[in-house]
Subunit: 116 residues, 4 copies
C-alpha cells in the first residue's frame, strides 16, 4: 500500500475504513463533502500565498503533501458517496479534453492552454 | 484501465501523456497547479449551489463526475510536479488523522467530527 | 466610522493606512491579493462546514463576522491596487444583472435564480 | 451613487432592491450565500490562472472588475442576512489585526506578513 502502485480501490478502502471506524458516515452528504473538498484545496493553496512556486516548494513541502492528501481523501469519499468510479471518470474526462484540445492545434499553444 | 482497479501510477501515466502530447509542461508550475486545483473544486461545488445534496445528485450527476475528474487530474499533475507519491501521502495522512481522532473518542461524535 | 453610513472611501482609507503603516504594499500584487481574497472566503465558508445555516449562525456568529470583514478588507485592497471604483463596479454589475435577469421573467423563479 | 463616496448603506439598498424585485430572498440562506461568495471569489481568481499579475491586469481588467463586484454584492447580501454592520466589522477586525501585527514588529517584515 506504500506506493503509487496502490489502486484507487485500495485507497478507497483505507479511507472508508477510517470513516466507518468512527461512525462518521452519518454526517456525510454530498454537498458538505464537495464543500469540504473545496476548503481543503484552499488550505493547500494557502501554502503558496505571497510566495513563488520555488519558495513554497522549499519552505512548505510537507504541508503541501498533507493538504494534497486531504484533497484526495475527500475526493475518494465524495466518489464513494455518489458511486462514481474515479478511474472511469478520469479516463472519460481525458477523452473529452482530447476532443476539445486536439494535439495538432494545442501543441505548445499558450493561448489554447490558458482557456483549458 | 476502466475501473477503480486502476493504480494511481496508471492514471498518472494517462494524465502526463495527455499533457506531454501538447507540450504543456512548459506552462506548469506548482503555484498555478494548486490554484487550478482550487478553481476546479469550486466548479465542482457550484453544482450544489442553491441545492440540497439530493437535488444536485439527481440534476447534476454528470457535471459532478466531470468536475471531480478534473480535481483528480490536477491533483495528479501537482503530485507529479512535486514528486509526491499520492498513495504514501494518503496513507501517511490517515495515520496522522488516526492519532488526532482516536476511535474511542471520535465514534459517532459530531463535535469532534466538526473539528476534523 | 462606526456604522454602515461609512463610505467605501472611508473604509478604503482605513485599510490602506493599516497597510502603509507596516510598509506591506511592497509585497502586494493583484494575483496574490485575488488569491488571498479567495482564501479568506473559504475561511468564511468553513464556519458552515457540516452545519445548517441556523447552526452556523448561532454557534459561529463572531467568527463569520470577522471572516466577512477579512473578505471586504482584501476586496478593498485589490480595488485599490487595480484602481477600481467599487461603488461604480457594483452599480454597473447590477445593471448588467438587471438586463440578464429581467424582473418580469425572474420574479420568484427558482430555475432562473439557480442559473444566476 | 457613482463613486466611492457612496456609503455601504447606499450600496446595500441597491443590492437588496435588486433582490426583492425578483422575490429572491426566499431562496437565500446564509450557508448558500457564503458558498456563493466563495464561488465568485474563485471566478475572480480564475482571471489570474496561468498569468502574471501584469498579464491579468492588461488582458482581463473588465472581467476582474465585474467579478470583484459580484464578490462585494454577495458580501452585502450575507451581511444583510446576518444583520452584520460591515463598517463596524471592518473597523473592529482592523483593530484586532493591529494588535496581532504591531507596527514596530511588522514594518516591512516579510515573514510576519506572510503569516497574516
Amino acid at each position: 500500500m506504500s506506493s503509487n502502485k496502490a489502486s484507487i480501490d485500495e485507497l478507497m478502502e483505507l479511507v472508508i475504513y477510517f470513516r466507518d471506524q468512527r461512525d462518521w458516515q452519518q454526517f456525510h452528504n454530498s454537498k458538505d463533502l464537495a464543500l469540504s473538498l473545496s476548503l481543503e484545496s484552499s488550505e493547500l493553496l494557502e501554502n503558496f500565498q505571497w510566495k513563488t512556486s520555488e519558495e513554497a516548494e522549499s519552505e512548505k513541502k510537507d504541508e503541501i503533501q498533507d493538504e494534497l492528501a486531504d484533497v484526495v481523501i475527500y475526493a475518494l469519499m465524495l466518489a464513494h458517496e455518489l458511486d462514481i468510479d474515479l478511474s472511469d471518470a478520469v479516463t472519460s474526462k481525458l477523452k473529452k479534453n482530447n476532443e476539445k484540445y486536439p494535439v495538432a492545434k494545442s501543441k505548445g499553444n499558450n493561448r489554447k492552454y490558458k482557456e483549458f
